[in-house]
Amino acid sequence: MGDVVLGVGVIMGAAVYLYADANLPALQNGGPMGPQAFPALIGIGLLVSGLLLFGETWRRRRAAAVAVPADPIERQSRRILAAMTAWTALYYFAFERAGYVVATVVYMFALLAFFNRGRWWVNAACAAGFTLAAYLLFTAFLQVALPRGILDF
């Protein structure tokens, strides 16, 4: 099932890519074939790959139709990963607004509270220790400015 969805997705993606390529403005200064030729080859390659995947899936289905039982851990991990992705996106949203130190301590502490349950002091020390060490490494040693956010005083 996954491969069929992948094949459909690839073919649709390739069609969108080829459409976008065809709508690029035609230019005289991009070489004999312009900036559209190479992406057109890539789009065709993606289309062929998607069709080839359908062929492979069909052959495999003929070869073995073994139903794989759903793994409960897999389902649970998917839910956790979806929540982690949303939490990470929120962290990135707050990265400059709240500042690196505040955003990172809160982000890491919340994750540690989930994955390393019950060890509040260890988790707090890990979150704060990592954040401060990284902040010092990047700002003092590597001369990279990290956002101060609400601590900018």
Partner: protein, 508 residues
């Protein structure tokens, strides 16, 4: 030959400077540590550390990144032997005999053989690299745009046909990588392509961001699953970390054979350490007088793949340094580092940056020696990393990846892109799509398009120039043969599976 001697002696002078020694030590130390984290391979390790090296002097930075790479390969055997889980994909064959040896109480011998095999193979591999890379670079100076186009197409074909179980998925991965490389302002016409009106995309998708997302962030998914599945069975190292005379007598020829297999596999683009280890293991089992012991704890089953993996690392550098073509996912990431520092790897490298290239090669001799020390007396100390709860490790990986990506250009947009590629990497793993072809596509996309367009400009738009020279035609023919062979081999595998299923049904 004489130039190579002069080069390596000059390089040793650079590699033995205190700063070079320090960065090489840091690289091999970090590589060894990373190799003890199951699931985090060299590509993810280099990707995580890449942003930290930005702004550093390129020579020591590259010595450190290369050190992480071969340090990872060196230490991948430890988790394979002690917890039945390869530290990186290439150590997968070491599991087969390393873990049974550990269960029999020979963990110390297996670890020692793995370390000594890695040292011998690494040293022989760097020696071969020293004397092969420069003549190959001189030969490659004769390449024009059509030859380069054919060579890169061959590399992309090899990596997409040989990685993973599906030709279609390898192709999807490589074409997706090439498509990503076309995002941004076209250098010849100055017009933006596929930017969807997003100003941040005009500079293109940063390679480092793709690598960190695809390799480092996506690995967090695997670690979450490991955490949920419970703890791993760890065999403790007891007694001396050394082997008996009989074990050495059996292992030594296997090391030499594994080194040969590994170096040649490494020098072929796209094969990578996992395939070298598999080939070395299979070859060793064929020539062994005790094939029945393989899988039950044969010392040759540890020695040959470990030697192959480490020699493969050196072979991969031949391509990278002499031709500017990566040979594996990890060398693609290192090539990205070269480009990030404004250095184009390839045949001109030996002329434009002799200090850097010879210093880097010489640092590998030194790094191998350091790794022998780290992996023999200190192996017990490093094994303690295995006891760090994975829940803490995965959060730290997220922290390092995020600050690293942000620090590269000071852009939150890059963080979102890295997160997107983290999700893509997770989906790739779930759907068995190989990641290395995508990285190859991203890293080579710009250059392959440039060669394609330069060739057509030279010929006034006549595509026959792409097969005009015997070398270019030969490479393109080889690429076509690779696709046909891969298609045929996978079709045959499916037919065999069908026959097996039919047989099983009849038996039932």
């Amino acid at each position: 030959m004489l130039a190579s001697w002069q080069g390596i002696l000059h390089g040793l002078g650079i590699a033995l400077l205190p700063a070079s020694l320090l960065y090489t030590l840091a690289g091999v130390f970090i590589g060894t540590m990373i190799s003890h984290l199951p699931g985090i391979g060299p590509s993810a390790g280099i990707a995580l550390l890449l942003p930290v090296t930005f702004g550093m002097d390129p020579a020591p930075a590259l010595m450190m990144l290369a050190g992480i790479y071969y340090g990872c390969m060196y230490g991948g055997a430890v988790t394979a032997i002690l917890i039945n889980t390869p530290g990186d994909a290439a150590a997968v064959m070491t599991v087969l005999d390393g873990y049974p040896l550990a269960r029999k109480g020979r963990a110390g011998a297996a670890l020692a053989i793995a370390a000594v095999s890695s040292f011998i193979a690494g040293t022989l591999g760097v020696t071969a690299l020293t004397f092969v890379a420069m003549p190959l670079a001189e030969f490659a100076l004769k390449f024009g745009p059509p030859e380069y186009f054919a060579l890169m197409l061959f590399a992309l074909t090899t990596v997409s046909t040989l990685t993973g179980d599906s030709l279609a998925k390898g192709m999807i991965s490589v074409f997706l990588g090439l498509a990503i490389s076309t995002i941004g302002i076209d250098l010849q016409s100055g017009r933006p392509r596929f930017t969807m009106g997003v100003p941040e995309l005009q500079q293109g998708v940063t390679f480092l961001v793709v690598v960190v997302g695809l390799f480092a962030l996506s690995e967090v998914g695997r670690m979450v699953e490991d955490t949920l599945r419970g703890t791993l069975q760890i065999v403790r190292v007891r007694g001396r970390v050394w082997f008996t005379r009989e074990e050495w007598r059996r292992a030594f020829p296997a090391i030499l054979r594994g080194t040969g297999v590994g170096f040649f596999c490494g020098a072929a683009p796209g094969l990578g350490g996992t395939i070298s280890a598999m080939l070395a293991y299979v070859a060793e089992k064929r020539v062994s007088r005790h094939p029945e012991e393989f899988g039950q704890g044969a010392i040759e089953g540890v020695a040959a793949p470990e030697a192959a993996v480490n020699a493969d690392t050196c072979g991969a550098f031949v391509h990278l340094l002499a031709l500017g073509i990566p040979a594996s996912g990890s060398t693609a990431v290192i090539m990205g580092a070269f480009i990030m520092y404004g250095i184009q790897p390839g045949p001109m490298l030996f002329q434009t940056h002799p200090d850097l290239v010879w210093g880097l090669i010489a640092s590998m001799y030194v790094g191998n020696l350091m790794l022998l020390v780290l992996n023999l007396p200190l192996v017990g100390l490093f094994a303690r990393i295995l006891y760090v709860p994975p829940g803490i490790l995965l959060v730290i990986i997220l922290g390092i990846a995020s600050v690293g990506v942000y620090s590269f250009e000071g852009s939150v947009f890059n963080l979102y892109i890295a997160l997107l590629f983290g999700v893509v990497g997770y989906v790739f793993r779930k759907l068995d799509i190989p990641k290395a072809p995508l990285i190859f596509g991203v890293i080579l996309g710009g250059r392959i398009e440039q060669s394609f367009r330069q060739s057509l400009t030279l010929s006034g738009g006549d595509p026959r120039i792409l097969v005009g020279s015997p070398l270019a035609a030969g490479l393109l023919a080889l690429a076509a043969v690779m696709v046909v062979l891969s298609f045929w081999a996978k079709r045959k595998a499916a037919a065999t599976l069908a026959r097996g299923e039919a047989g099983a049904d009849r038996t039932a």
